[in-house]
């Protein structure tokens, strides 16, 4: 069962095999969870959205066609679920930007590697949702640009542009952190 492709496993699960779903879930649980967590930032919300995404995947198993890549199909469902959540929720003003600025301004020696990573995560969370979505799809799922474009419902160039802007901003944060560290 474990040597089967995602597509085969999904079809097998749709045919009634729980074992196939367990293998499939084990393969994608981490990446999908991190993708959602990075998008929403809040673990409690991420848990809800993660569970909701899987429930949608489970309910939609009968409509899945193994001609389409399972990973793209799964991330599309999760993406739509998270976007629905964003639409329902009012955008919350994030005060962490000021915190990050304070941190950036702090003494370099206090910034450990762990803190640098944490600040990078914070920087990701501050990205616009579209850029963050595209970036996390790229980082967590490893999808190619065309698939990311399909998942997010835009064309390839738009997806590429969003990714570039996101990377640029993160690079700036990383550069400033490095610069602060060097200083």
């Amino acid at each position: 069962m474990r040597d089967r492709s995602d597509e085969q496993l999904m079809k097998t699960y749709a045919g009634g095999s729980m074992e196939a779903f367990e293998v499939l879930y084990e393969r994608h649980r981490g990446t999908l969870y991190r993708y959602i967590l990075r998008l929403v930032g809040n673990p409690a919300t991420a848990n809800d959205l993660y569970q909701g995404s899987w429930e949608k995947i489970i309910k939609a198993r009968g409509r899945y066609k193994d001609t389409a890549p399972f990973k793209a199909w799964m991330y599309r469902i999760a993406h739509n679920h998270v976007m629905d959540h964003f639409r329902r929720e009012q955008p919350v003003e994030d005060t962490q930007a000021e915190d990050m600025a304070d941190n950036q301004a702090g003494p370099v020696e206090r910034i450990s590697v762990e803190k640098r990573q944490q600040q990078l995560v914070t920087a990701i969370e501050k990205l616009p949702p579209e850029q963050k979505d595209t970036l996390m799809l790229k980082l967590e799922s490893g999808l190619d640009l065309q698939t990311i474009a399909d998942v997010t419902g835009v064309n390839r160039e738009t997806a590429k542009s969003r990714l570039r802007y996101a990377v640029k901003k993160l690079r700036q944060v990383m550069g400033s952190l490095e610069l602060s560290q060097e200083l």
Binding site: F21, G30, Q51, E55, V121, K138, R164, V167
Partner: protein
């Protein structure tokens, strides 16, 4: 002024964004791998299992209950139907006269051949009720087969008295067999005796026509119990039906009176008085 090409690749996102992406990835890879909580995993797996179970076709539990109910209802209806429609053989009810036979057979056998009157036991009830008459049908067929054999070899050539004797003998044999077979059924045995008492007292046909003998066999095989009486004969070749019940017999005699078959009516009246001496005749028939 610094040329853009001289800038560090990581600071030139226009051309090196993919390298920057790798830098971000490597920076994030050091983070503790975040996993969904175990309870969340379990909840999702339970959901998947539940959905799978729910989507399976449910066993049709109603089929068993429906089949049981249907069998019970069918059995009850059969029992009730049999109780309601089993003819009362003891009283003779439910046995009626085939009124169409006498005239036809009388005409057929009027030239040189004695009439072969038949007793037609026709139950008006449902086929379920006929099951109680099944032994009688079988006996009738047996009688007819025996009679066919006997008639072919002996009876046709024999004098009338010998033929009568053979017929009576056959009937007695059949009745003995029947009483032996139905010894455990008092109703049938009593009905049988009643029938024999009446039928064996009747006169027997002296001669037989081969066609007239084959016809009852065919009728018996067709499901109608026709016992060739060979017990009632008429010198004129007019056939008569044996009335098993006084009411039916009287009815038949009324029919004869209406059709102005007075000769036959007279014979029937005599036979009736002989069979039912105490039964009051209607005033129309007394005259």
């Amino acid at each position: 002024m610094m040329d853009p090409k001289d800038r560090k690749p990581e600071l030139n996102p226009e051309n090196n964004w993919e390298q920057d992406l790798e830098s971000v990835r490597s920076a994030l890879s050091g983070l503790e791998s975040v996993e969904p909580p175990d309870l969340l995993d379990q909840a999702i797996l339970n959901t998947a299992r539940r959905e799978l179970t729910a989507s399976r076709p449910r066993p049709m539990r109603w089929v068993g209950a429906f089949a049981t109910a249907a069998v019970v209802i069918l059995a009850l209806s059969i029992v009730v139907q049999q109780d309601q429609k089993t003819p009362d053989l003891r009283s003779g009810n439910g046995i009626k006269l085939d009124a169409a036979r006498p005239a036809a057979t009388g005409k057929e056998n009027s030239i040189g051949a004695a009439a072969i009157p038949e007793i037609q036991l026709t139950s008006p009830q449902s086929p379920a009720a006929l099951s109680s008459e099944e032994p009688l049908k079988m006996e009738a067929q047996t009688v007819e087969r025996k009679r066919q054999k006997d008639a072919a070899s002996n009876v046709a050539a024999a004098p009338p008295s010998e033929a009568d004797h053979a017929a009576k003998k056959a009937m007695k044999q059949v009745s003995e067999e029947s009483s032996f077979r139905h010894a455990d059924d008092p109703d049938l045995a009593e009905s049988r005796e009643h029938f024999e008492d009446e039928s064996l007292d009747m006169p027997v046909a002296s001669t037989r026509d081969a066609d007239a003998e084959e016809e009852p066999v065919r009728a018996a095989q067709a499901g109608t119990l026709r016992i060739e009486s060979s017990l009632v004969e008429k010198a004129e070749g007019v056939s008569a039906e044996i009335m098993l019940t006084p009411e039916a017999w009287i009815e038949y005699m009324f029919e004869l009176q209406k059709t102005e078959q007075f000769g036959e009516l007279k014979v029937e009246l005599e036979a009736f008085r002989k069979s039912y001496p105490a039964y009051p005749l209607p005033s129309q028939l007394r005259d």
